[in-house]
Subunit: 438 residues, 2 copies
C-alpha cells in the first residue's frame, strides 16, 4: 500500500463518533482507541451517520452509489474498458454487535474504501468496474437474522420476511420502518438478477478471522476457500425425577449423568474426525433442586466440518454413541433429538481463491499465509451462490471478536488491505485476459 | 392387628377432605382413592382441619393433648405404672408437599393413632406412658425449612428463625402468624428440656421408604439404623466464551466439556465407594447460545453415604479428579467450589433398633425385613439427638414419593403399623425390665 498505515493506525471520523459506553474503557489498562469497541446496531442513528459518511467518501472518489430495497449500498467505480459487465465488488458490513469490536465487518468496508482511494491517488484504473458493498444488518443483532441482506440479495431470504423483522427491544420498529426513516429503502430490487437488482461480477471480503489459528501459527493472511458445514441439534434426555438420597444408582433413570456422558462422547468423536462439536446451552426443568434428579435434560450440539459428509458422519456416530449411553447406567434413559439448523459447507470460487493465493505469496510469502475454512458465517457465503467469491482473513488477537477488545494490529490491517487491493487487480487482469482470449 | 385393614384400605374423613386438584385424577387409569395425592401445606386451613380431627380422635381415646410453641401436638396416653417418666412417642407429620402423596408423614401419624386405638380396644396398657407426636411443617414446603419443628424441639433451629419463616407465596404471612391464626401457638416451650418443654422417652417413626430398595428386594419392613451423611457442593467451572465455529478444540477453554466430565467422574467415583453422587442443577449464563461456548458452567453435587468418612473421602477424590479434568482439554479451565450443606451421618439408638428388629423377625420373618439407612431427612433425625429413636420403613411403589401417585399397599401399611405397635410394646417392656433390674 502506498498510503502507509492509513488503515488501522488512527481512527477516522466515523470510527469514533459512535463511541461505546464508558465502562468498556476500564476493562483493560492502556487501551488504544481501536480497542475500545463499537456499538453500532443496524439502521440506528449511529448507523445512519456512518452510512452518510460512507456515501460522501465514495462520491468524493467519483463512484456511483446505488441503494437497493434492503438498504445495501453499492459504490461503483468505472473501469478503463467502460464495460457494462458487473463490477468486481469488495464487500462487508458497517453494523456491529451491541458490545462489538471495531474490526468485524468494518475492516472490510474501510479497507475497500482505502483500495479505491489508493487506486485514485495512483491514477490506477482497473479494466472492469470495481466497487464496494456495505451490506445491511449482517450481524442480525438488532433485527434478528444474520447475513440478512446478502441473504435477500441471494434469494435465500424472502424480502418481506426481512422487512418484517422487529427490533429485539422495540416490537413497534421493523427493519423496513427503519429503512424508511433513514431514507435507505432504495429503488432497485435487492437481488442478484441483472434485470431488476444490482448484480456483481465477483465478491471479495477482507475480514478478521474471529478465531486464533492465524495468530497461533504466526500467519498474516488466511486464504479462505469456503465455509464449514454445520448442523445444530437439540437433544433431550428423558430420565425420571427421583430423590438423590433414597434412589440407589442402580435404580436411577439419571438424565443428567447420561447428558454429561453424551457431551463428553460428542467431543471425543469430533476430535477423531477433526471436526468441531460444542454444547452452548444445557437446561434442566425449572423446578430442579440439589436433592432431586432432574426428570430431563436438554442440550444443544453444534457440529462443524469443512466437508458435509464429515458433518453427517459425525452426527451419525453421535447418535449411535448416545443410544449406547442411554442404556449404560441404572435403569437407563431415553432421548429425542431435533435438527434445528442444517447449513451445508460452502466452497468459494477457485478463481477468486487463486487470485488471493497469488497475491498473498507475493505480499507475505507462502510461509506467512495459509488456506483456511471460515468457521463463522459471512455475507460472502451468500454472494458465493451468485457470483465468484472468496475471502481474506487477517489475525485477530486471541481469536476474540464480538467484544470491545477485539483487535487486529495496524500492520495486519495494512497487509490485509494490500492483499484485497492486489487480489481485485489480479482478478480483474485475469478476467481481461480471459475476455481477450489470452 | 386386630382391626383388619383399618389402615390403608379406605381413607378416613381427613384423608379425603383436602382433595387435590382434579387434573391429578387423570394421570393414571383406575386410581384408588389412596393414589390421588394430597395437598395439605403446613398451617393452612386444610392442615387446621386435620389437626382438629386428630385432636378429637386422641381425646376420644383418653389422651392428654399438649401443644408447644411451634404447634407440635403431643398426645399422651397413661401407662399402667402411672410413671412420670417421659412417654414413648410415635411421631411423624400430617403436612404434605403441594403436590404430595397420602403416605409420606401421614402414615406415621395415622398408624400411631391406630396403635392407640388397638391397645384401647384390647384393654392393653403399656407400663409407661405412650403417645403420638404430630410435628409441624416437616416438609418445609410452605415455610421453607424442612423438619422445622422437630429441629426447634431439638435445639438445632432457633425458634425465632422458625417463627419468622415466610409463606413462599405470601411474604406477609409468617409461620408464627399462622400458628396464632389457627390457635396453635401453644403454651409450652418447643424443647426437649423437661423443665420447660415436652420431653420424650423414645421416638419411633413409621414412614414409607421413599426409595425402591424394599420393593426391589421383596421386603416388607425396613429397620432403619440411621440416616446417611450428606454434603452439598456447588461447583463453578470457569472457561472462556468463544465462537463454536472459529475456535479449534485445541484453543478452547471449554467449561461445558469440563463440567460434563466432572459429572461423569463423580458418578464413577461414588460407585466405587458405594456412595451416591447426584447433580440436580446445572446452569450456563443467561446469554448462552448454540454457537457460543459458555464462559462458565455451574452445577450442584449431592454426595451421600451412611459413614461420614466415606462422604469426606468421596469429596476428596472428586476434587482431585476435577483438578485433573481441568487441564485435560484444549487450554484448560479453572474451577471453584463451595460447601453449601454438611449434614453428618446419624446413628439411631441401638435399643430402639433392636426392638424393631425383634418384632420384624416375629411379624414377617428375617427374610422379609432388612436393616437400612435413611436417604432422606425425617423428624426422627432430630429427635435422635435427645431421646432414643429409630424408624420403620415400609415399601412405596417404585420408590415414588412427593407425588400424587405415591402408594403403599394396604397390606404393607398394616404390617408397618403392626411393627410400630409391637416395637413400642417391646421397648416399653424392655424399659420396665431394666427399671426393675431384670
Amino acid at each position: 500500500m502506498s498510503r502507509e498505515g492509513a488503515v488501522g493506525n488512527k481512527p477516522k471520523g466515523p470510527l469514533s463518533t459512535t463511541s461505546t459506553p464508558s465502562h468498556f474503557h476500564n476493562e483493560r489498562q492502556l487501551l488504544a482507541p481501536t480497542e475500545t469497541g463499537m456499538a453500532r446496531l443496524s439502521l440506528t442513528d449511529a448507523d445512519a451517520k456512518v452510512r452518510k459518511w460512507f456515501a460522501e467518501e465514495v462520491q468524493k472518489l467519483g463512484c456511483a452509489l446505488s441503494i437497493d430495497q434492503m438498504g445495501n449500498m453499492f459504490a461503483r467505480q468505472s473501469g478503463s474498458k467502460k464495460s457494462s459487465a458487473p463490477m468486481i465488488a469488495m464487500g462487508s458490513h458497517l453494523d456491529t454487535q451491541p458490545r462489538g469490536g471495531r474490526y468485524d465487518g468494518i475492516l472490510g468496508v474501510i479497507a475497500a474504501l482505502e483500495v479505491l482511494r489508493t487506486m485514485k491517488e495512483n491514477n490506477f484504473k482497473t479494466n472492469y468496474d470495481v466497487g464496494i458493498v456495505n451490506w445491511t444488518n449482517e450481524e442480525g443483532a438488532r433485527f434478528p437474522k444474520s447475513m440478512c441482506s446478502s441473504g435477500v440479495w441471494a434469494g435465500a431470504i424472502p424480502i418481506q420476511k426481512a422487512w418484517d423483522l422487529r427490533d429485539i427491544h422495540d416490537p413497534n420498529v421493523t427493519l423496513r420502518s427503519e429503512l424508511e426513516r433513514h431514507g435507505y429503502l432504495g429503488d432497485i430490487a435487492c437481488s442478484s438478477d441483472p434485470a431488476t437488482g444490482f448484480t456483481l461480477g465477483a465478491h471479495f471480503e477482507l475480514h478478521i478471522e474471529q478465531g486464533p489459528i492465524l495468530q497461533e501459527t504466526g500467519r498474516s493472511i488466511g486464504i479462505v476457500q469456503g465455509a464449514q458445514g454445520y448442523r445444530w441439534l437439540t437433544v433431550t434426555v428423558k430420565g425420571k425425577d427421583a430423590h438423590t438420597g433414597t434412589t440407589p444408582l442402580s435404580a436411577r433413570h439419571d438424565a443428567m449423568l447420561a447428558a454429561s456422558k453424551m457431551i463428553v462422547a460428542s467431543n471425543a468423536i469430533a476430535k477423531r474426525h477433526d471436526a468441531l462439536a460444542s454444547t452452548g446451552i444445557i437446561r434442566v426443568p425449572s423446578n430442579a433442586s440439589t436433592n432431586t434428579l432432574p426428570s430431563d435434560v436438554t442440550f444443544t450440539l453444534d457440529i462443524r466440518h469443512p466437508e458435509d459428509r464429515a458433518v453427517h458422519a459425525v452426527q451419525e456416530e453421535f447418535l449411535k454413541a448416545f443410544a449406547t449411553i442411554s442404556s449404560e447406567d441404572g435403569r437407563g434413559v431415553s432421548f429425542d433429538w431435533t435438527l434445528d439448523t442444517d447449513s451445508p459447507a460452502v466452497k468459494f470460487d477457485q478463481g477468486c481463491v487463486e487470485s488471493i493465493k497469488a497475491v498473498a505469496d507475493h505480499i507475505v510469502g507462502p510461509g506467512k499465509s495459509m488456506y483456511m475454512t471460515s468457521g463463522a458465517g459471512h455475507d460472502t457465503v451468500y454472494t458465493s451462490k451468485h457470483c465468484p467469491s472468496a475471502m481474506i482473513f487477517v489475525p485477530c488477537r486471541d481469536g476474540v471478536s464480538h467484544h470491545p477488545t477485539e483487535y487486529c494490529t495496524p500492520e495486519d490491517c495494512a497487509l490485509g488491505t494490500q492483499a484485497l487491493l492486489e487480489a481485485v487487480v489480479h482478478y480483474d487482469q485475469t478476467r481481461a485476459k480471459t475476455a481477450n482470449g489470452i
